[in-house]
């Protein structure tokens, strides 16, 4: 269970760089991909994943039981787990943490994940202070009652948002918990010089014996990716957090020595174009299908140096529930043109394509634009800051949006994660994240049914999800374009299984398990 690496040598420090500053290390708030893995190393939830995989394993919970109706979860806590402040973690902490993350005052972007817990609505509306569904049975046992069955609940409990935090430390920090995090994780925060550097120190009392291997991890922020790579080549950096910048990709891959240090892996990501089904003429399914057929996905993949695989459905291939035998809409501009003509638009139409303004997204948008132009659809590009695109998407004013840069990376490896907020009716409201405003009550019902199934990994459930997504594709509210591949580069001294460098939930690397060889 511990997955110890026989070759691992304890000790040492690695340096990881990021462009963006770390906004917060508060597990209830942090939702950037870059602080996601950092928080994972500082905190633990009741559930966890096997390193380098999407396989659930117990975390702070030693074991758990699920009632037959799948509505009640009983977690037995691991004894003797200590917070970084030295206090032992108990069931009260779990309850406190869940209350905190769902409390509107916390302003957690992840609060919605806990919607299935009984009493959530009361807390969310401010009527209650605590979740009625969470009860402390004894100091080592917590029981969580759901208001509806939720097959993904164990995954939810493995989310950062479900991390267990000590109340006294949160209160002592007085709102600055994000800057003074205290958890139970493999590392604790050593130094944080705002805008420059964070140093994680090994938690000597970590409850997984022998972990972590590293003494310290240094994160240097504010580093331009291209500069970070230069530094890596110069031996100053071990992992460039933002990956290999496109401008350097060919150079790195052309050099066998450097290419050998690149680890490639899939990730739970799909890049897609949303087609706003409420905006004519995109409200016609033929038009949407035509657009699906117009996009030359291979060329787009070529544009990003082949660092992706063309997609044909919302789910990425490595996600359970992916429909392997689905062919999708083949690239066929002629047929697409014909379909448009059949839909009464022989001359095409004018529309707008919104895109976030960081490379390579505007480039991809221009490729899409050219493909659309080939079937007579004239899309003008709106390349805007992330916030403005999200605004336009939420407000439903954007006919088409290329999702890149804001794309859906799964929060947890479950097919349901790609549906709710981005394809379901719940997200299709003003300000929601369902930018195609696609809302099919029947499908929603099917989705709910699938999630209500008790066993998560059941074939049947995955089949149901597969059906849901196939039906989505029938309606074609999206053009799935590609699934990005991850290319993580490391310094020569880095050790550990390759899987750790493409860990699906801990990007760019799983800090707890990697080690240095010198």
């Amino acid at each position: 269970e511990q997955h110890m690496d026989p070759n691992a040598k304890p000790g040492g420090n690695i340096t990881v760089t990021y462009k963006d500053d770390v906004a917060t290390l508060d597990p209830a708030i942090g939702y950037d991909w870059q602080n996601w893995s950092m928080i994972k190393s500082l905190f633990d939830g009741l559930m966890d994943y096997e390193p380098g995989t999407t396989t659930l394993r117990p975390g702070l919970a030693e074991s758990y039981e699920i009632s037959d109706d799948g509505m009640t979860f009983t977690f037995h806590l691991r004894p003797g787990v200590k917070f970084h402040n030295g206090r032992e973690m108990v069931a009260e902490d779990v309850k406190y943490s869940l209350d905190r993350v769902t409390n509107p005052a916390t302003q957690s972007p992840g609060a919605g994940f806990f919607g299935a817990i009984e009493g959530y609505d009361a807390v969310a509306s401010g009527e209650a202070e605590t979740l009625s569904g969470v009860t402390v049975v004894d100091p080592q046992t917590v029981q969580i009652k759901l208001s509806r069955p939720d097959a993904t609940f164990l995954h939810v409990m493995a989310l950062n948002f479900a991390s267990v935090v000590p109340q006294e430390a949160v209160e002592a920090a007085g709102g600055d918990f994000g800057k003074q995090p205290v958890g139970t994780g493999a590392f604790k925060l050593g130094e944080w010089t705002i805008g420059q550097r964070l140093v994680f120190e090994k938690n000597a009392d970590y409850w997984r014996d022998g972990l972590p291997y590293l003494d310290t991890v240094t994160f240097e922020v504010g580093q331009e990716p291209i500069v970070a790579l230069l530094r890596l080549q110069n031996g100053e950096v071990d992992v460039p957090g933002d990956g290999i910048p496109p401008a350097k990709f060919q150079e790195v891959m052309a050099d066998p020595e450097q290419a050998a240090r690149v680890v490639e892996g899939g990730q739970l990501q799909t890049g897609y174009i949303t087609l706003n089904v409420t905006t004519p003429p995109l409200d016609q399914v033929e038009v949407r299908k035509a657009i699906n057929m117009a996009i030359n996905k291979d060329r787009i993949v070529q544009l990003i140096n082949g660092r992706a695989v063309p997609a044909n459905q919302p789910l990425p291939p490595s996600m359970p529930g992916y429909t392997t035998d689905y062919a999708g809409y083949a690239y066929d501009p002629e047929a697409a043109k014909q379909m448009l003509a059949d839909a009464g638009l022989p001359d095409g139409f004018e529309t707008e394509l919104y895109v976030m303004n960081t490379d390579p997204n505007p480039r991809i948008a221009q490729a899409i634009q050219q493909d659309l132009a080939a079937i007579g659809v004239n899309a003008s590009i709106q390349s805007l800051a992330q916030a403005n695109v999200i605004e336009a998407g939420g407000a439903g004013t954007a006919p088409m949006i290329w999702s890149g840069g804001m794309a859906w990376i799964a929060d947890f490896p479950d097919p349901s994660n790609f549906y709710g907020p981005i394809l379901g009716c719940a997200g299709a409201v003003e300000g929601g994240w369902n930018w195609s405003k696609f809302c099919d009550e029947a499908l929603d019902a099917e989705a709910t049914a699938a999630d209500s199934m008790v066993s998560q990994e059941g074939e049947e459930r995955l089949k149901m999800w597969s059906d849901v997504y196939m039906k989505v594709m029938e309606e074609a509210p999206w053009v799935p374009v590609f699934n990005e591949q991850r290319y993580t580069m490391k310094s020569a001294r880095m050790g550990g299984d390759d899987a750790l460098y493409v860990d699906p939930v801990s990007i760019p690397v799983n800090y707890d398990y990697v080690y240095v060889t010198d």
Binding site: P104, A124, I194, G195, G222, I226, G394, G431
Partner: protein, 306 residues
């Protein structure tokens, strides 16, 4: 003097008020909703409304602005929406780096630009002059990012003379300051050249020569201080331009200044941070102008502060 300072202070405060009002207004009408950024993807409409109310973003513009001002008066610049930290803390952590870079950058600009200008003026009409003025044009037209990367590549990566980005030692400062210096030097070179040409024609230069002073002394001690005056006034203007240019250079060199903070905040409409950075920059500009006005009489005693 004291009266003058007080008067300038009042003026500056009014300017800052104006800046804050306009920025606040622009952010208010900006087509981007910070609440959506905070609430995240899984948020229900109710959560969104909750947050909006908590932040007071549902209030009319004037009320929001009034509250912001009231906070400001008490030294509270608000809390970052996304980082959930006091804006003052964030800015204070980064401000010294930016100020250091600004001072060093302007210093480099002056050294490079003034030297170029003086040399061009002394050899005016010759090839050196034409060459330098041409160069000044190239520097004015060069894109920052490319120049920054180029310097980094040559002097840090290839030659290894300086660290590849970062902050802390004087060695770290050299390349970013040099980048800013090179980019801004063109303006100063041109100003200095024309100013110097003018001064070299002045009667007192002839007097100095008639005294039998060495050429170096005539130029450095007599011509330079007189020629530099119009350039001083330029520094005030320059700081404004500088605050804009700092974003890119800080980015490339991993310099932990407020430029990067602003850049991230703008991407994600973190209004309190944008407001804070704007105000701090405005403060720097206003102070810079004041300093320029205060320095001028030190160089030229004929200028009186009233």
């Amino acid at each position: 003097m004291v009266a003058y300072l007080i008067r300038r202070l009042i003026q500056s405060i009014l300017i800052l008020l104006g800046v804050s009002f306009i920025t606040f207004f622009l952010l208010y009408v900006l087509p981007a909703d910070p609440v959506r950024q905070i609430a995240g993807r899984s948020a229900t409409p109710q959560t969104v409304e909750n947050i909006r109310t908590q932040l007071g973003l549902d209030q009319p513009f004037i009320v929001q602005y009034g509250r912001y001002l009231a906070g400001l008066v008490q030294g509270d610049m608000g809390r970052s929406y996304l980082q959930k930290t006091d804006v003052a803390t964030l800015i204070m952590a980064r401000l010294p780096a930016s100020l250091l870079l600004m001072v060093a950058g302007i210093g480099a600009e002056l050294v490079i630009g003034l030297t170029m200008g003086v040399i061009a003026a002394l050899w005016r009409g010759r090839a050196v002059d034409n060459g330098l003025m041409m160069t000044s044009f190239v520097t004015v037209s060069a894109p920052q990012f490319v120049v920054a990367l180029l310097l980094l590549y040559v002097f840090a990566v290839k030659l290894g003379w300086f660290p590849i980005g970062g902050y802390g030692t004087p060695a770290h400062l050299v390349l970013p300051a040099l980048t800013l210096g090179i980019l801004g030097s063109g303006w100063y070179a041109r100003m200095m050249r024309s100013s110097m040409v003018e001064v070299l024609r002045a009667d007192f230069i002839r007097t100095a020569r008639a005294k039998g002073l060495s050429r170096a002394r005539v130029i450095l001690r007599h011509a330079l201080p007189n020629a530099i005056l119009p350039v001083i006034a330029m520094i005030g203007i320059d700081i404004g331009i500088f605050m804009g240019g700092i974003v890119v250079v800080e980015g490339v060199f991993g310099w932990p200044g407020i430029g990067q903070l602003a850049w991230q905040a703008i991407q994600r409409v973190d209004i309190p941070i944008i407001m804070g950075v704007t105000l701090v920059s405005a403060c720097a500009i206003v102070t810079g102008n004041l300093l320029a006005d205060l320095i001028a009489p030190l160089i030229d005693p004929r200028i009186r502060i009233r």
